[in-house]
Symmetry: C2
Subunit: 455 residues, 2 copies
């Protein structure tokens, strides 16, 4: 195998076969220091970990030129691989170093700590930092792991539309799509999608198991570290199956992705752990060892009340009652303090959930399930779907939703609609879980939030 | 292995081990006919090909009920597998058939031919037809094959933003994104993206090899069978590499996906071939056997002129000259009549190509490459990128593009930008190639085009 990238080097099975091997590789300078007759370049070609290149005045013919190479200069290095005992594993003993393209000295990512805000402002350059390189590599691997999981289990991938005629039934504020001269290109008002679920349900009625994985949008003027205007969602939908089955798939998918990242991104995880959360890797491993706990919404409220009263736990929102929407602090308390695991809360009151969720036999709650993850909050939201058209129409009425534009969706139930269950996973929130990154704006390449559209 | 789906049946390695096996499976009725004491259900669970279920009056206890099951009734069948010699391979001898959910008799997909227009109008139901089931399954497999290809070669997958601040530099008309009360959520005018290339280039400068695969948008009032307002694009970008390298990757990716579909979707391809193009499978196989021909734009124009003059080929657009934009009829003539293969046309005049394409040494042409596919036209469009800032700014001026909002992109060249090459593949056009479907509106689940936003 010809070695063309650092990844090829990393992937070479027999490390000892590399000893003294002469290679030529194109890469960027990350760091350059020298002491008189010997210099050290820290280089990367973006495909794997950084490597040290040693260059000596008496070996290369342009020592002084190389000495002046600034950060992110593009170069071609020829040299011999020297195996090492420490974690770096190998370095390159340069015999020749060629300049390919210079890098201006105003390169903003010098070797010092920068704030996340500063880096967000140079989103086009931040993947050149070690941390963002690791985060975006984990994001890429996690994305592939998601596809690998569903493909393995024969789920059909569908692309639900980004531009839709319905405005999301209370799932949040919508963006409107117009032509430049402010016309309705599609003949009527059109919106950016807030969910692919309705379309996924249609496809599940033809393929049994399907999933979407694409961008969704919320025009919410939200400035939390968990909300963003443009984000990616994974939305599987499974016909013939129920709430418990859906929860099983959600847990299996999360665990599959965690396992995949532990198996494929050890180096990147270590960088993330060092910068974000030293306990990151142990935490992820722990999530694999146990079943995710499941608690009924009703029991969760009782438990919160009990801990407020008996354990003097202090919540900002103290009014705890059946029917309330759990606040972020409550959700975090349950998954962080009570279980310290990703935790399913199920069977929420119908009043605080969407019109399409299956009404339970108690006539009060719906067969919903949210999965809350420590440090993040809701990562999964799902439910079994209501298969009965009359019940859906009653829910629409109660929630003041005009079912007219949803007729096609509701009518799916006319044709052999036995059961269906599905959920949405916020892809960025999953990446927060995998990297320990605390702000959702830092796990997507070019974040979109109120007032920010740069790039 | 417990058999739960028809796919499990299909995947069972030792077919003979299935003989007489008792299974229970949930599925939908596609067809139901009987003659006195014996009935035949054609059923599907959406995971694989349809299967025949034989039900006999003296075996099942609800023969008359089953007899009345309409198309797309959901049922649970228990019975024994009977292996067959013909292409169907097996059928099920029912011992019990249970109704799970009825299907209204107005189900619009009865067993007759429907026009594509009619089916487009019921996009939520059309995957239940054999043809659309096959097309969308091929689409799903092709999508996975794309990810598998780039993942295998260590390309980093990035999600370029859907909402951007720049309006695409002449790549076509943009959609504008507003809030419901007609405000600029992002503080300035925002657009739906027409390409992820600019952002991919930024990431290639950190990871070497990257790709995007996501939705892109054009607000063009176009009614051809090759244009659509919302479509998916695959956009790889490779730092340190040139035009020829990019063409190699494009050809390799197309061939990889074709091979994947030939290997994984024989059944679906046969359905497509039968309905759309009986030569489909041979055509796809042929594409694998040869290198894609490459012709210079200049030579292509000369060749068209020559054939117009000497071979009496009749074009609608007769004015052929260096500098012209090739019309669809010219492109088709070259790839269909001259080569009968996917064909690269390279080195177009700079005037008809984008500002970021690398200027060739002749100062007249750019290092662009389009790949034209018989029956479809342009499927791939790409180029080596201009690495020289001064040259880019001159091109912006010539093309009357304000470089202000592109400064971040142009400035990528300040930091070790040696070379970069990339291309975009229209995913839907690739699916047209793989399925023989002639209208782009029929290879995407919910097509968006002028005046059409239903669902």
């Amino acid at each position: 195998m010809k070695i063309e990238t650092f990844k090829d080097l990393e992937s070479t099975y027999e490390k000892t076969a590399l000893e003294n091997e002469l290679i030529t590789i194109q890469c960027w300078v990350r760091n350059n220091r020298s002491s008189g007759k010997i210099g050290f370049l820290n280089v990367t070609d973006g495909t794997a970990r950084n490597i040290q290149v040693v260059y000596k005045k008496d070996i290369i013919n342009n020592f002084n030129e190389v000495n002046r190479f600034t950060v992110w200069t593009a170069i071609e290095v020829t040299g011999n691989i020297i195996l090492k005992e420490n974690e770096d594993k190998y370095e390159i003993n340069a015999t020749n170093i060629k300049l390919l393209a210079t890098s201006d000295s105003d390169f903003p990512l010098q070797n010092k700590e920068h704030s996340f805000e500063f880096l967000r402002d140079i989103s086009q350059l931040r993947p050149k930092s070690n941390l963002f390189n690791a985060v975006m590599r984990i994001r890429s691997e996690a994305s592939f792991a998601v596809h690998a999981f569903y493909h393995h289990f024969n789920f059909i991938y569908l692309n639900s539309p980004e531009i839709t005629e319905n405005d999301g039934e209370g799932a949040g504020e919508n963006f409107v799509v117009k032509t430049k001269d402010n016309k309705n290109f599609f003949g009527e008002e059109a919106y950016l999608t807030v969910t692919g679920q309705l379309h996924a349900e249609a496809y599940a009625q033809a393929f049994k198991n399907v999933y979407t994985f694409g961008p969704t949008f919320r025009a919410e003027n939200s400035h939390t570290n968990r909300h963003i205007a443009e984000f990616w969602m994974i939305e599987p939908e499974m016909a013939f199956n129920d709430q418990r089955y859906g929860m099983g798939v959600a847990e299996a998918q999360l665990k599959f992705v965690i396992k995949w990242i532990l198996d494929h991104c050890q180096y990147e995880l270590k960088i993330c752990a060092k910068k974000n959360d030293e306990n990151l890797i142990n935490k992820l491993k722990k999530y694999l060892t146990k079943s995710f706990p499941i608690i009924d919404y009703k029991d969760a409220v009782d438990l919160l009340k009990k801990h407020q009263e008996e354990k003097q736990v202090i919540f900002e929102n103290k009014d705890l009652y059946f029917g309330m929407d759990l606040a972020s602090e409550h959700e975090k308390y349950i998954c962080e303090k009570v279980y310290d695991m990703p935790t399913f809360i199920i069977n929420y009151p119908k009043e605080i959930k969407a019109f399409y969720m299956k009404l339970n036999n108690d006539d009060k709650t719906v067969a919903a399930f949210d999965c809350l993850v420590p440090g993040i909050g809701e990562v999964v939201g799902g439910s079994e779907r209501e298969a009965n058209i009359e019940k859906i129409l009653i829910r629409c009425k109660e929630l003041k939703i005009n079912p007219e534009k949803l007729q096609w969706y509701i009518d799916l139930r006319k044709y052999g609609y036995y059961k269906s269950v599905g959920f949405g996973i916020g892809f960025e929130r999953m990446i927060m879980m995998l990297t320990g990154i605390e702000n959702i704006r830092d796990v997507i390449p070019f974040p979109r939030f109120p007032g920010s559209i740069k790039f």
